[in-house]
């Protein structure tokens, strides 16, 4: 009978009724909405479906597929992953490093039970009382418990006993998350992206790079906005980078600077990338005259194979020297591109842009989604981040368009400012938006190839911006 009750108390249905777990229900709803957006509305489905699914499974109480404590305090706790017990002194250590109490609380509770069994409930109570008294008002109940547990553990050790045999079985997502934590997945995805990217239009018209630079305005405007809203510097950087409109870059920066915000930032980044056709056109129309939108651009020159091969090498060396923190991203992007362009590593290029990127996308998506637990996701912060995401995309778009207009003041061969918006990256969606809007005002105008230049330039630009932010706050 007892066993049945314990079994029932293990079910997720019961756990929902537990303190704080109502959040999980809401999160399940959000996950389903994201699945709907991904599947039915086709919002970047390749990433949004895994992310939403990760969010779903992490919020099923009791499933225990992701344990924040393995990565608490910025460390990877290999020993815990390997099955070593959670000790009170480790918890105290993590607490003093500022790990959130809701991460530690369940383990403290388990240790408390162990201590009460090993000694007696009264003795533990007394120890807590003693600690509290000694410390005065300057201590929370949880801190007092923790200190008492550390004492109990030491006492137990003195008698040759071990208080704790609480081990954590790592879940699937814990292991997959290692690749996020170590920054591997974004790099590998960029390798695949590089193998799918054609830098030809950029080489044919290097001026596009300026538009790619201007579109990074969104990142820094958002940064300022976030600082005003009370986010810390590193957090603001991570949120700002949403404006880069490159998923892997955003995740790479966020893991380094503000891992706690990974869930909402990833969701914002990929959602808004899918919303580019909604967000950009009004801004593009607002900032341009009808005549500008009709500007026809000359076809681009053909780019030789040699140029295409040398370009990725040059960019890697230059960018990695200028902003070393951006080196992993740029190097992987360009290595992938080199595989594609050099013509004799066809099989590497194919694998990198198919199987490797697919596998990594699933692992990344599921584990990024899994960081979005109720307690971290359901907060005002998330709403602020979603709001700032729109700001980031809007200012990025505006930056690109405005610089194109500004450049037209000096150039003989005018640029159609509609291609400026493509500088936010979101490859190749943003370039298609330029094409679409352009064709609306001049049906014979083919801007796609011209927009591809700023579009891929935006990827490089965002990586540089990311590098600057990491170097300042990393």
């Amino acid at each position: 009978m007892d066993a049945i009750i314990r079994f029932l108390q293990d079910t997720g249905f019961y756990l929902f009724s537990q303190d704080g777990n109502w959040r999980c229900l809401i999160m399940l709803g959000i996950a389903c909405v994201l699945l709907y957006l991904g599947i039915v509305k086709k919002f970047e489905p390749l990433l949004l479906v895994p992310i939403a699914f990760g969010m779903l499974i992490t919020n099923l109480p009791g499933a225990n597929m992701f344990h924040e404590i393995f990565f608490a305090g910025g460390h990877i706790h290999w020993d815990l992953i390997g099955g070593q017990p959670v000790t009170a002194s480790l918890l105290a250590d993590l607490h003093s490093q500022g790990v959130a109490e809701n991460v530690l609380a369940p383990y403290i509770q388990q240790l408390m039970t162990a201590a009460q069994t090993a000694f007696s409930p009264e003795m533990v109570e007394q120890a807590i009382a003693a600690v509290t008294e000694e410390a005065g008002a300057a201590i929370t109940p949880l801190e007092a418990q923790l200190q008492a547990l550390v004492q109990a553990e030491q006492a137990a050790a003195y008698y040759g006993m071990t208080l704790s045999d609480i081990t954590i079985t790592p879940g699937l997502v814990d292991i997959l998350y290692l690749g996020v934590k170590l920054g591997i997945y974004p790099c590998l995805i960029f390798m695949g992206v590089g193998a799918m990217t054609d830098f030809g239009p950029l080489i044919a018209n290097p001026k596009s790079l300026l538009l790619g630079a201007a579109a990074q305005l969104g990142i820094f405007i958002t940064f300022v906005g976030c600082r005003f809203m009370g986010f810390t510097g590193p957090e603001s950087s991570a949120i700002g980078i949403i404006g880069g409109a490159d998923g892997p870059t955003a995740i790479f920066v966020t893991v380094l600077l503000a891992p706690a915000l990974l869930g909402p930032i990833a969701v914002a980044a990929y959602s808004y990338m899918a919303l580019v056709p909604v967000i950009q056109p009004p801004i593009m129309k607002l900032l341009t005259t009808e005549k500008e939108r009709q500007i026809v651009m000359k076809p681009l020159r053909e780019v030789s194979k040699k140029e295409k091969i040398i370009f990725p090498i040059v960019v890697t060396i230059f960018v990695a020297l200028l902003v070393p923190s951006a080196a992993p991203l740029i190097a992987c992007l360009m290595l992938g591109n080199l595989f594609k362009e050099c013509g004799i590593t066809e099989r590497l290029s194919k694998t990198v842009q198919n199987e490797l990127i697919n596998i990594v996308t699933i692992f990344l998506g599921v584990s990024v989604g899994a960081t979005a637990t109720g307690t971290t996701f359901l907060s005002l912060q998330t709403i602020k981040i979603m709001a700032m995401g729109v700001v980031a995309f809007s200012f990025g778009t505006a930056g690109g368009v405005l610089l194109a207009k500004f450049m037209n003041l000096f150039l003989k061969e005018k640029i159609n400012p509609l291609i400026g918006s493509a500088g936010v990256s979101a490859v190749p969606m943003a370039a298609r938006v330029s094409q679409m809007v352009g064709q609306k005002y001049n049906p014979g105008n083919f801007l796609l190839m011209h927009a591809m230049g700023p579009n891929v330039a935006g990827v490089i630009g965002s990586a540089i911006a990311a590098g600057v932010l990491i170097s300042l706050y990393g």
């Binding site: 950029l202 510097g233 000359k298 591809m452």
Partner: protein, 86 residues
């Protein structure tokens, strides 16, 4: 370390622009050294997606591969007699 927002902004946009302007120069330089292709080619190859529309050999290969996979190994032969773009 605390930085003023203005500083981060200027630093950031500055580096981005500086970096990409240098890349413009490097790209022009590279093209000059390597020897540019012909100017203004009539039909530039479209970007990321692989090309589209025509019945290229890759396409035939892909279709044949799909066929082969679908039919298993014990089948003696299937031939794509013709493939038309409509």
């Amino acid at each position: 370390m605390e930085y003023s927002s203005i500083f981060v902004c200027l630093m950031g946009m500055g580096t981005v622009f500086f970096g990409l302007i240098c890349l413009i120069a490097l790209t022009y330089l590279m093209s000059a050294v390597v020897g540019r292709g012909k100017k203004a080619a009539p039909a530039p190859v479209p970007a990321a997606p692989q090309t589209a529309g025509e019945v290229t050999p890759e396409l035939v290969a892909a279709v044949s591969a799909a066929l082969a996979e679908e039919l298993g190994t014990d089948i003696t032969g299937i031939r794509i007699v013709s493939m038309k773009k409509v």
